[in-house]
């Protein structure tokens, strides 16, 4: 293989594959939470992004406290130790909201849109709490080793012009996301409670007839949602940075991911997460250098299809295409 081809491949890996897989994993975890709420509680949870911010916020606060008393994980970010605390706080939040807000509408058998409006109310309360407690600004909480692979070392080792950078947080994101997804699937496919959840999602009346306790199913769902949102929030925050408004904006790509894959289908949420992430990156990447390596000559412009300012438009376009072409999503989810 020629050096140019090698350089092109490294360029693709560095600017498309690595960020795409990382971002895709974060979106997939977020979309899984949305999908679980869809599947079991049957509504679009607009509070999801802010719940992510809430979980991440408590993880940050616990991280700061751990750092202040001198606890550290060495090369790994201290935040990993603080995640269980974040999950616990989020679990309390979502369960309190379920008891105070959603439970009533479940008992009334309200239409899905009423749940959606209630979730918008919940979103504002959560959003306000996050801003009140930690403020609306950017927060950094990443510590430990920064890189798994450094561009400089990579260039030295391979003798190529292009470098490959893999941040530790990117590696962690993918690793933790894989573990989380595998555990979730094990839980849903193999355990009694997991199967009861699927049964309840599939056919509520028959589940009740079979003696499945809906209260327990709802509780377990919220616990899973708390864990998934906090993980997604912390991994996104470690990788990029924590800012409450960014988490609100993640709502659109996460909804797009959940709908593209097939509403209520966990596998679809993961697939959707990666589709959205890669579409966003492929459409906003400047291809100038890459074309240079492949064609031997660099074009004048940046050769960027869309400015990064419009990355949310990508999720929207994907959403529109799916709604027009196959409203139930790629894996044929449910349509309520």
């Amino acid at each position: 293989m020629s050096t140019d081809t090698m350089n092109a491949l490294v360029l693709i890996a560095n600017f498309i594959l690595v960020p795409g897989i990382t971002y895709g994993s974060q979106l997939a975890l977020g979309a899984l939470g949305i999908t679980l709420v869809y599947a079991v509680l049957r509504f679009s949870n607009f509070a999801h992004g802010d719940t992510m911010a809430y979980g991440c916020m408590f993880t940050i606060l616990a991280t700061w406290w751990l750092q202040s008393i001198g606890v550290s994980l060495g090369p790994l970010p201290t935040a990993l130790l603080a995640i269980p605390f974040g999950i616990a706080m989020t679990a309390i939040l979502v369960i309190v909201f379920d008891k105070l807000v959603y439970k009533h509408y479940r008992e009334q058998k309200s239409s899905p849109i009423v749940f959606v409006i209630a979730s918008v109310g919940v979103m504002f309360v959560t959003n306000g709490l996050v801003r009140f407690i930690i403020g609306p600004n950017d927060q950094q909480f990443s510590d430990g080793m920064r890189f798994l692979v450094r561009a400089r070392d990579f260039k030295k080792a391979t003798g190529l012009d292009e470098g490959l950078t893999i941040k530790l947080t990117q590696g962690l994101t993918v690793g933790i996301a894989i573990i989380a997804m595998l555990s979730l699937f094990y839980f849903l496919q193999r355990t009694r409670t997991g199967k009861a959840m699927r049964a309840y999602s599939d056919n509520e009346d028959l589940a009740l007839l079979s003696g499945i306790d809906p209260k327990k199913v709802v509780l377990v769902t919220w616990l899973l949602v708390a864990a998934l949102t906090t993980l997604a929030g912390v991994l996104y925050g470690l990788d990029k940075s924590f800012k409450p408004f960014t988490y609100f904006q993640l709502l659109l790509p996460m909804f797009a991911a959940a709908i593209v894959g097939g509403v209520g289908k966990p596998l679809g949420a993961i697939l959707g997460g990666f589709i959205v992430a890669f579409s966003e990156i492929l459409l906003t990447y400047a291809y100038k250098k890459l074309i240079g390596y492949i064609a031997g000559e660099r074009p004048d412009g940046l050769v960027q299809l869309l400015s990064t300012d419009y990355k949310f438009a990508v999720s929207f376009m994907i959403l529109v295409v799916v709604l027009l072409w196959r409203p139930t999503g790629i894996l044929r989810g449910k349509s309520i």
């Binding site: 699927r198 049964a199 599939d202 056919n203 028959l206 589940a207 009740l208 007839l209 003696g211």
Partner: protein
């Protein structure tokens, strides 16, 4: 006294009364069939027996115990199995998982019950890993019956089990239901296909506007000229 008795039941939905003094009984190892014209309250009678609507008068007893005030779920634990007419399987789950969900209230090892269901419905054993939603209509009904059998009920109630299946499949389903009966279970079903159902019925109930019109053995009802003319189309 029979195993399951719904005595002089009066009830309906909200203010509309559908059942007027309706009595249904079924005993162990017996098939009882409820037939009648549309809107006669056949399904309502069955729902009343299963606790899915409140009775204003009358009582339901199971093995001598009064269960009138119990919820459907509680009746399941008392030994009643119910197969709804529609949406009676978990379509996204495999056949085996459907059976497992049927046994959800059981804490003991129910593998032997699963094996018994596979013995009764061999096709389910072959397709145990397949999603129930991918099966044919007749096979789905077998999954539904199998699911209800998982609690080892003493009474099995079927709401129009042959609705929407072909005549051949219907015959096969009735064969299976007779086998279930032969294991000593009391079977109560509501049927649109009255003639075929009465052929296998030990007892038949003809309901009209929520009241017992005729009650006799299945064979006797089939032989009754009046019943034939009015309800079985000659």
């Amino acid at each position: 006294m029979s195993l399951l008795v719904g005595e002089s039941m009066v009830g309906g939905y909200g203010k509309t009364t559908i059942l007027h003094n309706c009595t249904i009984q079924v005993d162990r190892g017996e098939i009882a069939v409820i037939v009648g014209p549309n809107g006669a309250g056949k399904s309502t009678a069955m729902k009343a027996l299963f606790g899915m609507l409140d009775l204003s008068e009358g009582a339901v007893t199971l093995d001598g115990e009064n269960i009138t005030s119990l919820s459907p779920q509680e009746r399941v634990t008392k030994g009643m199995g119910f197969v709804p007419q529609t949406n009676n399987v978990f379509v996204s789950m495999s056949v085996e998982e459907n059976l497992q969900m049927g046994a959800f209230t059981r804490d003991d090892d129910f593998q032997d019950t699963i094996d018994q269901v596979y013995e009764l419905f061999p096709i389910l054993g072959e397709k145990r890993k397949q999603a129930a939603g991918e099966l044919s209509g007749g096979q789905r009904q077998q999954v539904a019956v199998g699911r209800a059998l998982m609690t080892k009920p003493t009474v099995l109630m079927l709401d129009e089990p042959t609705a929407g299946v072909s005549p051949i499949v219907m015959d096969e389903l009735f064969d299976r239901i007779m086998e279930v009966r032969n294991t000593g279970i009391a079977v109560l079903m509501v049927e649109q296909n009255a003639r075929q159902a009465l052929e296998i019925a030990d007892t038949g109930y003809v309901l009209v506007t929520g009241e017992n019109k005729y009650t006799d053995t299945g064979a006797a009802l089939l032989a009754d000229a009046e019943v034939r003319k009015t309800f079985l189309g000659g």
